[in-house]
Symmetry: C2
Subunit: 283 residues, 2 copies
């Protein structure tokens, strides 16, 4: 199976996600950003290979960026650590990992100062001063490009490296998502070709996961480009198992048919051992 999976992978572009933030490591915040980005990338036919969470620490950030670049994914997306406070250290960490200097980026400074001008107008106050914490958000590694932030102040950042496009996004979900939707998705689409991800779940009652194991194995052998994974819900002895069937493909036409065929093979085999298959999730 591993070999067959690797064939699929070789066809697709790979991505790693790096999330920066102590709040994720102390369990204060649920990492919805990683799930959201994984879902978007997967839908574009990109294979997310790893997600790593590290602390707000320059060395930790520099280390993980360096390690990840060594694995040469086509894309790296980072989230978090772009704001004005002292512990927003992602750009410093990225610069360190690349051995590049940090410098005020004029394009980014224009983006940031326009945000504060709009804020001043809106609140009818005099111009907001560009203090060091504010200028920090426009201080990028050399040769970086700022990406407009439609809903917040700190721009996203893009770095075209030798084999990897590194995209640095804020951690506030609304900002991260809107930068992705407005700009990043287009970049990824251009690079990832016409790939797409197709998936469907069915639900099996009255069988144990250990009884499904040989069935899933056999159906996957007969359908090498389809991936099947069982997810027991609650205890195994409750005998209610989600079976998730998916395919990542360049050409879309036949993928839906393939999924349907696999679901019929699974349903038939599960029926033979006394299980019942339903299409909607049990409640």
């Amino acid at each position: 199976m591993i070999i067959l999976r690797q064939n699929v992978r070789a066809m697709t572009r790979e991505m790693e996600i790096i999330c920066v933030g102590n709040e994720l490591l102390i369990g204060k915040t649920l990492n919805t950003n990683a799930q959201w980005l994984s879902k978007q990338a997967t839908a574009l036919g990109i294979t997310v290979k790893r997600i790593t969470v590290v602390a707000d620490d320059v060395n930790e950030i520099a280390n993980i960026v360096r390690e990840t670049l060594r694995r040469k994914p086509r894309f790296i997306i980072t989230t978090g650590g772009l704001g004005p406070t002292f512990d927003d250290k992602t750009l410093e960490g990225v610069a360190k990992s690349l051995k590049r200097k940090l410098a005020i980026n004029e394009k980014a400074l224009k983006m940031v100062s326009e945000k504060y001008e709009a804020y001043a107008r809106k609140n009818r106050i005099k111009a907001v001063e560009l203090t060091p914490p504010r200028i920090k958000m426009a201080t990028l590694p050399e040769k970086a490009e700022p990406i407009p932030n439609p809903v917040g102040t700190a721009p996203g950042v893009q770095l075209d490296l030798e084999e990897t496009m590194l995209i640095v996004l804020p951690g506030v979900p609304s900002e991260m998502e809107s930068i992705f939707d407005e700009t990043v998705e287009g970049m990824l689409k251009q690079e990832s070709g016409k790939g797409a991800f197709y998936e469907k779940s069915i639900y099996a009652e009255g069988v144990m996961e250990s009884s499904l194991a040989p069935i899933i194995y056999k159906v996957m052998q007969n359908n090498p480009d389809v991936y099947i994974k069982s997810h027991p819900k609650g205890r195994e002895s409750r005998s209610y198992i989600e079976i998730h069937v998916s395919i990542t493909a360049r050409e879309s036409e036949k993928s839906e048919d393939k999924l349907q065929k696999v679901i019929m093979q699974l349903s038939s085999a599960i029926g033979k051992i006394g299980g019942k298959v339903v299409v909607d999730e049990l409640s």
Copy 2:
């Protein structure tokens, strides 16, 4: 600030969390396990240094375990990949990373077969055969110890390595949590000493995060063992910011007082620049 943080860290035990599962990398499943474990470990005074998510692939698992061991955290906890299906590959990956053989563990086999005997009794069927997928759940790396699973079939696994205790848990949240509560928490407590984590949030209105930045910096300089992080909620211009104050300490007595002192310093400084501080989260 980095140096001050490292002083705190040196006092505490470190942990890394590894989550195995394609469902996390395609964005199908939100990684609640990582948050739950981080919260538990942090409450015990342990510092979670990294969380990594990898695919259901023997080489990916072996690589991340090897890399993580090289960083020598006191604890590694993995989740996922312990079930009966072909794509439950965590123990194979762990064995590969340690260059140990996999073999049927008699203690684990007893745990697994007792689960199926109970299932047979409950469902009034004849004995459930110990098929290869079922025996697989009792096939552990050499010198591993199984940990009882109070609510599921696959035992957890403990490996005492040179500098690291490696704990392998299932991915189904109810199983992972109950193994942790029943057995793992005790192991960690014994090792992590009397450390604990104290935290409190306040909420600031009417100030921008970029105006808070120098205040937070200054208060942290005056209180080196306290960590302060601002979390903008929504857009920065909406001016509603959570300020999370935390301390990891061996001795508990003075920690609450320290947090209170820091909150008063923050509130006073924020008041001076025209902001308002509230203790309860705004809705």
